[in-house]
Amino acid sequence: MKLRRIHIVGFKSFRNEVDIEIADGVTGIVGPNGCGKSNIVDAIKWAMGDMSPTSLRGDSLSDVIFKGTEAYRASGMAEVTLTFENEADSWPEEEIDWGESIPREYRDMAEISITRRLHRSGESEYLMNNVECRLRDIRNLLAGTGLGKQGYSIIEQGQVGFIVNAKPSERRLLIEEAS
């Protein structure tokens, strides 16, 4: 599973639709202070099922919806879609419990996309290849392909020292995630 595209609309400072293509190799994201770089990291974490407001740098989950500026009113919805290229070797050997909600034919599709939406009303939606599903299905898909646990593959701003300053018991968790 390679991440190929990040589509964001109405999420934090991304009022308008934005598409970011991610090719192989090293992709750099640059820009002035406060322009929205770390918001892209939040968008990815959120689409992958992050349910903690503080981990998304807000007070409540609805803080992720574009809240407006001097010129624009707030948006009614936040939506992020991650599109993965489905390589043959992405799937582990042993059978995963996909339950009945993820059709077997997904394993053979060239692309799999996951979408998360949150409406101002509080209603949220999850979609896989544009078909509505549950958060659990998305988590199952991600867990199976090594994307599940993010402990060591997303290092947030200012957090690099965490591992060094953490308690010995917290460091153990990181090793466990990799077992």
């Binding site: 390679k2 820009g31 770089k37 957090q159």
Partner: protein
Amino acid sequence: SRRRFQATFEKINEKFQEYFRRMFRGGQADLTLTEPDDLLDTGVDIDVQPPGKQLQNVSLLSGGEKAMTATSLIFAIFTLKPSPFAILDEVDAPLDEANVGRYSHMVRELSETSQMILITHNRRTMEGCDRLYGVTMQDAGVSKVVSVKLDEIDDRLAS
């Protein structure tokens, strides 16, 4: 299970020592178990010895040395259990020029098996990227993303 934890721990420790020696150009580092007899509950400590210095606990290191040690451990874990992509948000901020160069070099190596996404203000790190996206807020408070070349950085993005 105990055996799996022990096996993973030893593999990570080995890789960690390798990355640490490359990052610091020498020296030693070691992950130790706080309670080796209780593998299900033990914590993990980090002892380090930058080149020429004394062996010490990682808490006595400088700001940059801590970031270098943490990055070495993250890269070690990442090598053993690569995730399809990784995101590093301004991990290079505390590093001096020479260490930014080494960091950028290691990121390049990891990018052979995983997609690496870096957020940075450091020009030297930018030079090591295959492609650059600039995030701007020309429309105050509203983010847009454009593809940029390194030589465009100054005019387009300097606010």
